[in-house]
């Protein structure tokens, strides 16, 4: 049985007085693609922010390769090999396309991904390497955001709302590229609103509802009914 790379143990998260996550238990095994689904406000993004260190949690609530990382800062988490492709892409507007990629590489982890391999994956980015990142289309921006995360050669990559706000044809392209991205021995967590897309690329799926895990199962065996019950909370 493959090793566990990431574990959440009773993860709670708060924004001031508002509690967004209630005791989430979850694990990601080495090399797998895990999908997280759930409606708006279910706590998916909060979970991503917690894992990546943008939200601080209790040390033991998040373990990565056996070490407690719950209270680490985001830059420390990044150095350990976890990268986040944030919701809404969030490129650096003052940086050119290539600089956005380079800054991802500044983490200094060696591996398969560098400017060359990345431009092989997304040739359009090489063409547009010197333009400001703000002048790209939404799909190209998503490529930069993915590339920026890959440049740090992470062992675990988190995609938050990977297809939100993109045209269907672009989403198709991005999903077509995903296997090539993940095949390099990486584990991945994909947060996605589009359930069938999420199920098609993942081996297992978790559904969040109002800050709690409402369903956990293998992507190819969970039924439609189970999902809609977990998703909407309807019995």
């Amino acid at each position: 049985m493959p090793d566990t790379i990431l574990e959440l143990h009773g993860l709670d998260a708060h924004y001031g007085d508002f509690q967004a996550l209630y005791g989430i238990d979850l694990h990601v095994t080495e090399g797998e693609v895990l999908a997280i689904i759930g409606s708006n406000g279910a706590g998916k993004t909060t979970m991503m922010r917690s894992i990546s260190g943008l939200l601080s949690n209790r040390r033991d609530q998040i373990r990565y390769r056996g070490g407690a990382i719950g209270s680490l800062r985001a830059d420390e988490v990044a150095l350990k090999g976890i990268a986040l492709v944030p919701e809404g892409r969030q490129l650096f507007p003052s940086l050119s396309v290539e600089e956005n990629l380079l800054i991802g590489g500044q983490v200094g982890r060696q591996g398969h991904w560098d400017l060359k391999t990345l431009y092989d994956l997304f040739p359009i980015l090489e063409e547009r390497r010197n333009v400001p990142s703000t002048s790209l289309s939404g799909g190209q921006q998503q490529m930069v955001a993915i590339g920026r995360a890959l440049m740090s050669n992470p062992d675990l990559i988190l995609f938050d709302e990977i297809s939100l706000g993109l045209a269907p044809v672009i989403i198709k392209d991005i999903y077509a590229a995903l296997p090539g991205i993940i095949s390099q021995g990486m584990s991945a967590v994909i947060v996605e609103q589009d359930i069938s897309k999420a199920l098609s690329v993942s081996s297992r799926v978790y559904c969040l509802q109002e800050g709690r895990v409402s369903l956990e199962g293998a992507s190819d065996t969970v039924s439609r009914e189970e999902i809609s019950r977990a998703y909407f909370g309807i019995d």
Binding site: D75, A83, V107, S152
Partner: protein, 287 residues
Amino acid sequence: MDWINALVQGILLGGLYALFAAGLSLIFGVMRLVNIAHGDLIVLAAFLGLTVTTATGMHPLLALIVVVPLMAALGYALQRGLLNQTLGDDILPPLLVTFGLSVILQNGLLEIYSADPQKLNAGGLETASVPVAGLSLGVLPLLTFAIAVLVIWGLQWTFYHTPLGRSFRAVSDNQDIAQLMGINRRHVFGLAMALALGVTAIAGILLGIRTSFDPSIGGGRLIFGFEAVIIGGLGNLWGTLAGGVILGVAQTIGAKIDPGWQILAGHIVFLLILAVRPNGLFPRISA
């Protein structure tokens, strides 16, 4: 000819003001911090130069190799030890903490060096001049201006052509996402302040060679630097140089009209520009 002379002297003086301003502009650009103690740090650098030159007999310009790293180290320590704790959405903590720092620095200098005016002795450099097109230009003001251009070019290059500059811009754009790239913003802010105070050290030494200084003049230097930044437009280093030049020219022309009007003329030009172009002449980022 007198007027042309005043104009040229003003332009050269602008180089010094641009050096006062560059550090302010840099830290505002990276972390939106306005450092009220900036002027006092310039004066501190001048006094450090005084100590180094009197202790070793070094030429003040040579003393830069001691004072610049010293100020840079102080900047890093100050940022990480104190100023990082003030950063956030509320503008009060950074303002009031740097204000307190200003008072501490000023009175600390008063305690150590007394209120007597001091000067850095640069020997023949202070009076040397070269004739250019019928004008006699001081070597020191020319050198100061050249250094200012060089420093601003260097900062610009650092910002746009080095990994450090990339980090500066990334942190300035979005601190959270920059953290995701493995950038420790506290460290990056420390480096930005170190760089800013390194430039401040150069400004302080050149100030000390040019005129006499005492612990009380920090506020005035802060204001000149601030005016140059606002005239030039926030976030634009070359604009800051232009702002310094405009301020310098306003002052020398004002002094030409009436010696008592030198500083006042600079302030009035600043207020006029603020009235007409509130974002400065060459704005790049909004506050």
